[in-house]
């Protein structure tokens, strides 16, 4: 047999179907909105983060030195209490010394690939107009493994940089601005004072206009000679098979070679902070719909408690304990909460399905639709908030019901 409080709770709700349905719909709306909107946000963040992580190195080693390298004396006696005071990081050297060896050592580790880069500014001149770009001297074979540059190529090849020492790869939109096409030559100069004519051997398009307008790639040797810094590398880009290892691997690199190694979490710290703020705003606003739904539950339970004064009085008089009376009304609220929750799951999944068919803003081809990430976490969080607020909303009037003095009502009714 159904427990007594559940029997009575269901009887009360069944007797006021319209009010119950309205309260349930409030919860359905709240849970549905919470699930779909936070799913949309998570989808956006995942896409953004994926692009960011995918097109950028997972760890960037630069020629800054943040900590002094391990000292020979301490290395000699690893277990002894060796303390060396006044050990300072070396004077900043321009460039990563021994970069070749570091790249080789890193690439030898499982799940790690590394590529050397020399960054430096360049001026591209064409038809009397100057275009400043941030140029990277790269090793095309290694670059392929570390960044998505090869994937982003829309004309020419990345390998051409290896075969043609006078090759340059620029963004497709920059080429359009310059009025240049694949195979054209551009005059290139640097602050080191060197100037040379390079041939466009490739065009890339990342989809991010700022990059497509301002980045250029040449071979590492060409960049070194243009910048007047032979054999110098000022950045090592590292890609990991498992991005979750970025922080320990970065710490290992920095500990072993002393150069600053920034994991992607550090490089994109500001963006990740914006995500956190975004989460707070979205969860806060959709969560508040759930709280408003709780007022609906409070409303129906309060009404029932008020109307059911006589029933509560006789139950108390007959000897039904106060906690059972509380349970009746809390169960009533919970039933509304649970029904709303289940409906909300369905509504959320449905809205997410519809959203996933809407073309993404700024998408070039119609197959690019809004991405909605449905996670057990958001379903769980929505359910938790909905249930908790339903119980709280029912508990307040329920407690009042259990405290009513049955005699006051029995006297009055006689």
């Amino acid at each position: 047999m159904m427990p007594l409080p559940l029997t009575i709770a269901l009887a009360h709700l069944a007797a006021r179907k319209r009010q119950t349905v309205v309260s349930v719909l409030g919860v359905v709306l709240g849970v549905g909105m919470f699930i779909s909107v936070s799913g949309l946000m998570a989808g956006f963040q995942a896409t953004f983060r994926g692009q960011l992580i995918d097109s950028n190195p997972h760890i960037t080693v630069t020629d800054e030195i943040r900590q002094p390298p391990a000292q020979p004396l301490a290395m000699l006696h690893p277990d002894a209490a060796v303390h060396l005071s006044r050990v300072l990081p070396r004077d900043p050297v321009r460039g990563i010394s021994g970069a070749g060896a570091i790249v080789d050592a890193l690439s030898a580790m499982p799940g790690v690939v590394a590529a050397p880069v020399l960054r430096g500014q360049m001026i591209l001149r064409r038809a009397g107009r100057d275009f400043a770009v941030s140029a990277s001297g790269i090793d095309p074979a290694r670059e392929k493994q570390v960044t998505t540059l090869e994937k982003d190529m829309v004309a020419g090849t990345l390998d051409a940089l290896g075969t043609r020492s006078d090759g340059i790869i620029i963004g497709a939109s920059l080429a359009t601005k310059m009025g240049a096409v694949l195979g054209d030559t551009v005059a290139v100069s640097t602050i080191a004072g060197t100037g040379v004519a390079l041939r466009i051997v490739g065009l890339f398009r990342t989809g991010m206009e700022a990059q497509d307008n301002a980045l250029a790639y040449v071979s590492l040797a060409r960049q070194q000679s243009l910048q007047g810094r032979p054999r110098v590398v000022n950045e090592i880009q590292v890609r990991l098979a498992d991005i979750s290892r970025s922080i320990p691997v970065a710490a290992m690199i920095e500990g072993r070679w002393g150069f600053k190694a920034a994991p992607w979490e550090e490089t994109f710290e500001r963006i990740l902070e914006v995500f956190v703020l975004q989460n707070v705003i979205i969860y806060g606003s959709t969560g508040s719909i759930l709280i408003v739904a709780a007022f609906g539950i409070f409303n129906i339970i309060s009404t029932v408690v008020m109307e059911k004064g006589r029933d509560i009085a006789i139950m108390r008089a007959v000897g039904i304990p106060g906690h059972v009376v509380v349970t009746i009304f809390v169960v009533e609220g919970s039933v509304v909460g649970v029904l709303g929750l289940l409906g909300g799951w369905a509504a959320g999944a449905l809205i997410a399905l519809v959203l996933a068919h809407i073309p993404a803003p700024g998408a070039t081809d119609p197959s690019q639709t809004l991405k909605v990430v449905q996670s057990a976490f958001t379903y769980g969080l929505a359910s938790g908030i909905a249930l908790l607020s339903a119980v709280a909303a029912a508990w307040l009037p329920a407690r009042k019901a259990a405290r009513t003095d049955p005699l006051a009502i029995i006297r009055g009714a006689a």
């Binding site: 029933d311 007959v318 000897g319 005699l407």
Partner: protein
């Protein structure tokens, strides 16, 4: 003053007073001492406002005396907290009020089973059997599945009596159970109450009706919260 009873008192009020705290305190019951023997049928009479209901609430542990105590089998129960008194009411007392207080969403059968389900000592089958038996004894079998709003006044009151009997209580307290009924139905309900004592139950009923009070073993007359006469019904 009290009728010498052949058996030991099952329910007893010992110098019980009930005063409502207020700027001018209202005395509902003033130093009442009474004993009720098992198997007795007592009626309480008195003018309106004399304190009949108040006395019944005190005897039924629905209210607590401000002075004196209520004893069951010689044990004082007045010091118990409200949940402990609720538990005692559930198993030991059955109440019938002037208003039926049936749960409107529940059938007659479910209303009768309400106290049984809370007590939880019987299986579902045993509860159903018992509820049907009680309803049959009150000639309510044909209405077992009706809602209270589909019943006549007399049927509602008989359902309330059935609910009072659900947990086989030792004491049945009825406060003007026939107040809303016509003479025929009133006499029927009183006959039922009278019949309950054969199983050894102690029945106490408040009534205005002098004719009905004549059917009782004992009549207690109350005025202004005090017992003014107590004896075998005239």
């Amino acid at each position: 003053m009290t009728v010498p009873s052949p058996r030991a008192p099952a329910l007893c009020a010992n110098h019980v007073s009930r005063v409502l705290p207020a700027t001018v305190p209202v005395t509902l019951i003033d130093d009442v001492s009474l004993e009720f023997a098992p198997g007795s049928f007592t009626v309480i009479t008195g003018p309106s406002g004399s304190g009949k209901s108040s006395l019944l609430y005190l005897l039924g542990l629905l209210d607590v005396p401000t002075r004196g105590e209520i004893l069951i089998d010689g044990q004082s129960v007045s010091g118990r907290d409200s949940e402990a008194r609720a538990a005692m009411r559930l198993r030991t007392f059955g109440f019938v009020f002037q208003f039926h207080f049936l749960l409107p969403e529940f059938s007659v059968l479910d209303n009768v089973m309400l106290p049984m389900r809370q007590l939880g000592t019987l299986s579902r089958a045993a509860m159903l059997e018992r509820a049907h038996a009680i309803l049959a004894s009150l000639d309510m079998t044909s209405s077992a599945n009706k809602r209270p709003d589909a019943l006549s006044g007399g049927q509602r009151q008989r359902t309330a009596v059935a609910r009072a009997l659900a947990n086989d209580p030792r004491f049945v307290l009825a406060d003007e159970p026939t107040g809303a009924l016509d003479t025929v139905n009133a006499a029927a309900v009183f006959a039922i109450l009278r019949g309950l004592t054969t199983a050894g139950r102690t029945v106490i009923a408040v009534t205005h009706d002098m004719g009905l009070s004549a059917t009782a073993d004992r009549r207690i007359h109350i005025v202004d919260g005090r017992v003014v006469s107590d004896g075998a019904a005239a």
